[in-house]
Amino acid sequence: MAAVYIDNIAYEMDEKLNLLQAALSKGLDIPYFCWHPALGSAGSCRLCAVKQFKDEHDTQGKIVMSCMTPVQDGTRFSIHDPEVTAFRKSILEFLMVNHPHDCPICDEGGECHLQDMTVMTGHNYREYRFKKRTFRNQNLGPLINHEMNRCIQCYRCERFYTDYAGGDDLHHFGAHNRIYFGRFEDGPFKNEFSGNLVEICPTGVFTDKTLKQHYTRKWDLQTAPSVCVHCAVGCNTVPGERYGTLRRIRNRYNGEINKYFLCDRGRYGYEFVNHENRARHPMLHQKEKRFVSISMEEAKQQLEQIATHSRGLIGIGSPRAPLESNYALWKLVGKENFFAGVDDNEFQIQQTIIDIFQNGPVRSPSLQDIRKADAVLILGEDLTNTAPMMALAVRQAVRNQASKISRSVGIPDWQDAAVHNAIQDKKGPLFVLTAAETKLDTIAQESLHAAPGDIARLGYAIAHALDSSAPPVGGMTNEEEALVKQITQALLQADRPLIISGCSLNREVVESAANAAWALQKKKTDVQLAYSMMECNSFGLALLTNQSLRSANQTLDAGHADTVIILENDLYRRGSQQDIDALLNKAETIIVLDHMTHSTTERADLVLPASTFAEGSGTFVNQEGRAQRYYQVFIPEGDIQDSWRWLRAMEPIQNDTLRRWNRLDDVISALSSEFPQFQPVKDIAPTADYRAAGQKIPRQTYRYSGRTAINAHREIHEPKPKDDVDSPLAFSMEGYTGVPPAPLIHSFWAPGWNSIQSVNKFQSEVDGPLRGGDPGKRLIESNQTAAPAYFHSIPDTFQATEEGVLFVPLYHIFGSEELSVQSPGIHQLAAIPYLSMHPQTAETMNLEEGDLVEIEGIETDIEFPLKLDISIPPGLAGYPAGLPQLKGAAFPLFGTVKRMVKEGRISSPHD
């Protein structure tokens, strides 16, 4: 630590930092544009200028940029010196030469860092009397709006997009005062993290186009702390609502997870909440009339009747429903009658993963741990598409070993451009072994595409090379042996090696990753093992039950039950049409609780409208095993409520457990006491009784407008805000206005800091954890002393045959996930059905690029155009996983493909 004097006051500062970051950490306000805590210093904007003095007698001093000045003991600076204050003001005046005066109609207004900095520097009168510079804007697709005239050329967008996120289609063009940031032609950004530009941009060049479709001023949004539902990473978000419509998602800083960024699926997938196919009222299936809406009371009576007359209930849980609702169903139907509503293969993999974490010696890392890893092996997972933010974390991890080079010549880590110049394109060890090409291949030291079994074989072989007591793998080629050796050495040389696998392929891949991690653990102390999962609460559901969906058949067959309660799930995504039909046909009564209508609700006798993440509160467990609370953002129209609330009516009156649950805390405390592994869940956030200075925490901002008029079309009197019994948050603008405990931070704002940059006022130090610690609690810690037996199920080498192909699922950030694809923007960018194979494989089947093919065993009207892809090993065929069009079309493991024959149709170029 160093003593630094700022305006003659001594501060203890960290020498590893630059002066700007250190000063912000001390709560001092120095304005800035181009610096960003995740991107480091660039020295471009010159706004963070301060005066540096040689010693206490120096009155002259010189202007230096605080972002480019290292913290050094005994140095003296002034932020408020008149000369430097005037200099900073002039920087704003320079920017205002060309910045348009469109604040009143700018989407960024009220949340604009440029506005804040203008006010902070005191610039208010502009002497410029000439014409402004103008640019042409680009159409950047459905997610991001482009307004280049507002650009202040801080270079943050390009530095984030290219240097941090690995994108290659956003650049600066031109020179002098005509620098243009954009793509080389119109079109959507190709990088999965492009949405962060709307927060990275200090003004309104890149703004959220989905918000623009239903724009409202940022201060008029009602917000609550939330957790993303579009994959298992559990990024923290702030959804915003106005007039009953969810308007946007913004990042919520969590130092252990997403920090400043979100992926585009997470940011833009929210619009399913506003979808017209939402279930908003209970619906009863009446044969002749199809579905009829019934009242909430009628629905409760129906539930009670069904429960009374039923021979028995079974419950099918959901990996996208919160723990509380899953637990309520578990409690209602009983442990032996509760089944995981997930695909059989995925279920097996999940159970294996839980077992590996519960009984193994290697821990699962947070995203922050991943960012700190210095050697990474990925087995079978296309992270960019299955767990995008994990891929972004890996992109940072590969810089860790390389930045030893820049450190060795004395370049501090924050001096971003210099670090890049010094390390150039050198990357730390990353090995990517997947079924087909992935985006991380381009930064990998080695990447290999192989059949799932062969990926597992390599994983097993790496384990054996690390520890000879791990089972050996026979029949390896020389190339494979060499690769195993290279990977093994890199893992052994690293300080914080990390192995990543996941649910994309099969159990063997997952087991081989565990073997490798366990073998490595015998040699090293700081080993980590991450598994990506598919949905926001996959981990939580897998902890709750070990009964598969398939086994529900037996319970129904045995006649112990005749009523199936399906929780927030479209089962036709979980198996083939045939299998799910067979299962549901066995039930006399089907109750579906969900927020969407879909093929499964079509089969229901009773549909109950459940809340989405924005309309209810609950707990998800992410792939790390971290339980996180999300909170209701707004009160929806209709009879929507949390699923657990609906389920209460089905409990026999004499039991009186569920019926006593009135608040979320009641469910959580029951869950925590029933399951030891869920005990920490009650501690992840304050209970609903929590009050800050005696008050609830308002969901609405200081400046929330129209409170007294917002309901005037219905009722002239201002209604009393609805009470929220589930949380210490209030549907109001009144209440505690200070910084709440971290799990309850629902928006980032501080006096003078209206943009997302205000997050620095909420962190214990800039870029560090939120004050009071980042929210969320890990439910599983590894047992360091455990010595589980190695897995042994080593597959045989894959041999391509002429009889058919091995089908492998390929994942798409847009399309593979059920909820986000309902959002119009994402829907527009989503993958469409295809089948991809190596040209060699296609040749043996007499197929060509673009041929429409059919797959034996899949009954569907969908046409699969053939895509040739040299990255896929011969003998394999890739298909897009999870697309809505392919629902119910369960792909066989192995099968034949042939050209589709269209009857009575002559194909013409005009088709």
Partner: protein, 418 residues
């Protein structure tokens, strides 16, 4: 008077080919250095000679070299770059050397590379110097064939690759670190220092960038010694200097003269005095990015220290003469246009400030100036001063303007009054 740098240059004649250059004593310095001197020894000799960089900044060449790690543990590869991106307005001295004696440049480049044990060298050439490119390209080929370049040069065990790179053509490419980015194929924007190129330069490796004229001195220092070199100069800064004069003089051109020659001698003797009907009013001593000298400065020796004391810089030593028939404000308008256009666009004060300054100067020149404009310009000149911008482009750009307002304020005022 000795003119080592230009001794082989005959006006109107083709430059010496390899054989002729060798016959004139060429590649002897290289032979001497490679076979009898250590790299550190070469550095020592250059240090003793007090060779100051001729690109404009006047940094001691040996001082710059000193920070390059030497020996077996040094990073590999290391780069030596000759900066031939001569784009300073009014400056044409390096062109003289490159077109006039390309082998001297190549020998110099090899010698300097040897002094820092560089493995790869580049000549970074201004895009418009097509003739230089042709001549240097041919000379490099000859040098490779003769074994002065490539593996194991002259049996010394020292190897060097030399490449010629023609710039994509922006002023900022001549800035040391902007040049590195340009050479890496990136937009030419300067880099922050530290880290200095000596530790992290081209492709992140130790790198030295020296001006053409600077390096061309090195073979002569090696051949004749540092004492001889210092004796060439009239002042403490060693050696000769290629001075040039442009403007309304009778004989504009460039001449190799002792360092410290006066402006009067330059204009009156070598440039043949002012053209008839034109009177001397002032001069920019070293390209566009230096401040004015006036009549009272005519007898000052033109070296780095004296020029700094006179409130300007020696810069490139190629003088632009201002006469009484030429509009100062018009000259400033042209210069500001150049600098505003050549700003790379990286930092705000330069990117936004220079075009605004250009517009105001243009307004004054076209009779649309406001009374407050002069004060405003003076304020901008302070804002764009050294340290406030990312690199030296903006401080250089405002140097002539600042001194023009200081010395010729009435010219600005009269246009506004009209």
């Amino acid at each position: 008077m000795e003119r080592p740098l230009t001794q082989n240059i005959r006006q109107g004649e083709a430059p010496l080919n390899l054989e002729q250059y060798e016959r004139a004593g060429g590649y002897q310095a290289l032979r001497k250095a490679l076979l009898t001197m250590t790299p550190r020894g070469v550095q020592e000799e250059v240090k003793k000679a007090n060779l100051l960089g001729r690109g404009g900044a006047g940094v001691a060449t040996a001082f710059k070299w000193r920070f390059v790690p030497l020996g077996d543990d040094a990073p590999y590869p290391k780069y030596f770059i000759v900066n031939g991106d001569e784009m300073e307005p009014g400056t044409f001295k390096d062109r003289l050397l490159m077109e006039g004696d390309p082998h001297q440049l190549i020998e110099s480049a090899i010698l300097c590379s040897y002094a820092i044990e560089a493995n790869i060298a580049y000549i970074f050439l201004r895009w418009a110097y097509r003739k230089s490119a042709r001549l240097i390209g041919a000379a490099i080929q000859e040098a490779y064939q003769a074994g002065y370049l490539g593996e194991n040069i002259l049996g010394s065990n020292y190897s060097l690759e030399l490449h010629l790179h023609s710039s994509a053509g922006r002023y900022i490419c001549g800035e040391e670190t902007g040049l590195l980015n340009a050479l890496e194929g990136k937009p030419s924007m300067p880099r922050a220092k530290p880290p200095f190129p000596q530790t992290s330069g081209l492709f992140g490796q130790p790198t030295i960038v020296n001006n053409v004229e600077t390096v061309c001195n090195v073979p002569h220092i090696i051949n004749n010694g540092s004492d001889w070199f210092k004796s060439l100069s009239k002042t403490g800064d060693g050696g000769t200097k290629i001075y040039g004069v442009s403007g309304n003089v009778n004989n504009p051109g460039a001449w190799e003269l002792p360092m410290g020659t006066t402006l009067r001698e330059l204009i009156e003797e070598h440039a043949g005095g002012m053209r008839d009907g034109y009177t001397f009013r002032g001069a920019l001593p070293g390209g566009a990015s230096t401040g004015f000298l006036l009549e009272k400065h005519l007898d000052l020796p033109m070296d780095f220290i004296t020029m700094n004391k006179a409130g300007t810089r020696l810069g490139t030593g190629t003088v632009i003469v201002l006469d009484d028939q030429t509009s100062v404000v018009g000259m400033m308008k042209n210069l500001m246009h150049f600098f505003a256009q050549e700003s790379c666009g990286w930092c705000i004060p330069c990117r936004e400030g220079l075009p605004w300054i250009e517009k105001v100067v243009h307004a004054i020149a076209s009779g649309k100036g406001k009374k407050t404009d002069i004060q405003w310009l003076e304020r901008q000149c302070k804002l764009l001063g050294p340290g406030n911008t990312f690199c030296a482009l903006a401080p250089g750009a405002i140097a002539p303007l600042q001194s023009a307002i200081q010395y010729f304020r009435e010219d600005f005022e009269s246009l506004i009054a009209e």
